[in-house]
């Protein structure tokens, strides 16, 4: 029973939503709009689930004194402080805004900024023209990287000032994005879409049941 009910619900709603896409009838549209409202109500429950999981994970770490368990205390401190200020007083509260602007925002931005340093280091170590394919990747990366910034065209225009060809680096970058990149991406999108369709049919028909958990 515990497994049959979700399977039946999944089948009924899956078929109903497919049906609403192909029928402009008023009843069909009413069903569609009603289900959308339900989804809007059900959706936020994921936040509760996420919060409970976060608390469980970090409580276990603190209890077992796993490596760097002290950071879990920081997680709880951040969570409790922001909830205690944000929920009763709202996100426009001056203390909430101060914490956001002076703690969360700079930390978040700093973490992302560090990527520039690691990318530079990784590019120096990893980009080697060992094979033909690696050389092709290397050349493409250099063209796109230089075409993505004005200094690429500036260098080209300075060196090739005697010729009528200008801004060729950014043009080459655009050509790479518009042609080989676009073709490859489209292939990936088509493949993924077909996969999603087949997986959806399997879920609606109850063939794929892993979303219920516990194997089977």
């Amino acid at each position: 029973m515990k497994r049959q009910v979700p399977l039946v619900l999944c089948f009924v709603f899956g078929i109903a939503m497919i049906f609403t896409r192909f029928s402009p009838h008023s009843v069909s549209q009413w069903i569609y709009e009603e289900v959308i409202s339900w989804i809007l109500i059900i959706g936020p429950f994921a936040l509760v689930l996420a919060t409970v999981t976060l608390i469980q994970t970090h409580t276990t770490r603190i209890r077992r004194r796993t490596e760097h368990w002290q950071y879990s205390l920081v997680v709880f401190a951040g969570l409790i402080i922001m909830v205690l200020i944000g929920v009763p007083f709202g996100p426009q509260n001056s203390i909430f805004e101060w914490l956001y602007n002076n703690v969360q925002l700079p930390m978040d931005a700093t973490m992302f900024s560090l990527l520039a340093f690691f990318i530079a280091s990784a590019a120096y170590r990893a980009f080697r023209a060992r094979t033909f394919e690696a050389s092709l990747l290397l050349l493409t990366a250099v063209v796109v990287m230089m075409g993505n910034v004005p200094i690429g065209d500036f260098i080209w225009n300075t060196i090739m000032s005697w010729s009528p060809w200008t801004d060729k680096v950014s043009e080459a970058r655009q050509w790479i994005l518009d042609n080989p990149n676009l073709s490859a991406r489209r292939g990936i999108i088509l493949g993924v879409s077909l996969g999603v369709i087949s997986q959806s049919i399997r879920i609606i028909l109850g063939i794929e049941r892993s979303y219920l958990g516990g194997g089977d």
């Binding site: 709202g90 426009q92 925002l105 978040d108 120096y124």
Partner: protein
């Protein structure tokens, strides 16, 4: 030969700091996707409505805030009404500040020229909900004012009254907007995205599902140029130029040393 990575880090820091101190100003040409974006907004008559999804958090604001700012300036200059919203939980505070800053500069009035709806959870649910009735998703704006009491929202119910949807994104929200707002409701969409996801967007640009596209800091700089308001985008693309140049030089040096090492071994 392997250079100590701390040296690489110092070189990157210098490539950022020196051009910033010297205020380098390289010429920026405008790419076709950016021009299309600008032209589409320019073609909208005064009184049109643009919905902007500010779908990024603090980690991507350096790339996306400048382009969002340039678009807001263009909208307020042209008397285009702006509906702001976000699907990212940690975005509302920074977005609210950004809109208010530009509105104050351009003399735009909240509730008449613009409204910021804030955040609602559930990406797809929100996109589909806006298609039926905005008020079913956002009963109030970010300040808590009921949607029914906001003057500019009186005649706006769903996508039918929105002339363009712009998504500034650092993740896959653009693709979701295309699937649920463009395909399902025929909503015109333009996007501004971070450099790392730009390659994913080109198939949609070619099919016309995106009417225009801004690519990272370069897109922001190009758009600032078009709007005639050079700001952070222009400043940062010059800095980024030198970091990219440094990376290319490092790759070349790395390959030269690799080939020297290989020939010695052989």
């Amino acid at each position: 030969m392997n250079m100590d990575r701390r040296i690489v880090f110092i070189l990157v820091a210098l490539a950022v700091i020196i051009p910033m101190l010297l205020s380098v100003n390289l010429p920026v040409s405008v790419s076709e996707p950016t021009q299309k974006f600008y032209d589409y907004v320019e073609s909208l008559p005064a009184g049109s409505t643009i919905m902007i999804g500010f779908d990024y958090g603090p980690s991507s604001l350096a790339e996306l805030n400048p382009m969002a700012k340039a678009l807001l300036k263009q909208c307020f200059d042209k008397d285009i009404r702006v509906i702001g919203m976000t699907l990212v939980v940690d975005a509302p505070t920074l977005v609210s500040a950004l809109i208010q800053e530009v509105a104050a500069e351009k003399g735009a009035v909240e509730g008449e020229d613009y409204v910021f709806l804030g955040y609602r959870p559930g990406e797809i649910q929100v996109m589909l909900g806006i298609g039926t009735d905005i008020a079913s998703v956002y009963d109030t704006d970010y300040n808590g004012t009921a949607i029914s009491e906001i003057p500019m929202m009186q005649n706006i119910t769903n996508y039918d009254q929105i002339d363009l949807l712009v998504d500034f994104a650092s993740s896959d929200t653009v693709e979701s907007w295309i699937i649920y707002a463009n395909v399902q409701y025929n909503q015109k969409i333009a996007a501004g995205v971070t450099g790392v996801i730009i390659a994913q967007m080109f198939p949609y640009l070619q099919t016309g599902q995106l009417v225009g596209l801004l690519s990272g800091i370069l897109g922001a700089a190009e758009y600032e140029n078009l709007v005639g308001a050079p700001a952070k985008g222009m400043q940062w693309i010059n800095v980024e130029s030198f970091v990219h140049l440094l990376i290319v030089v490092l790759v070349i040096v790395g390959n030269i040393t690799y080939f020297i090492h290989r020939s010695r071994e052989a």
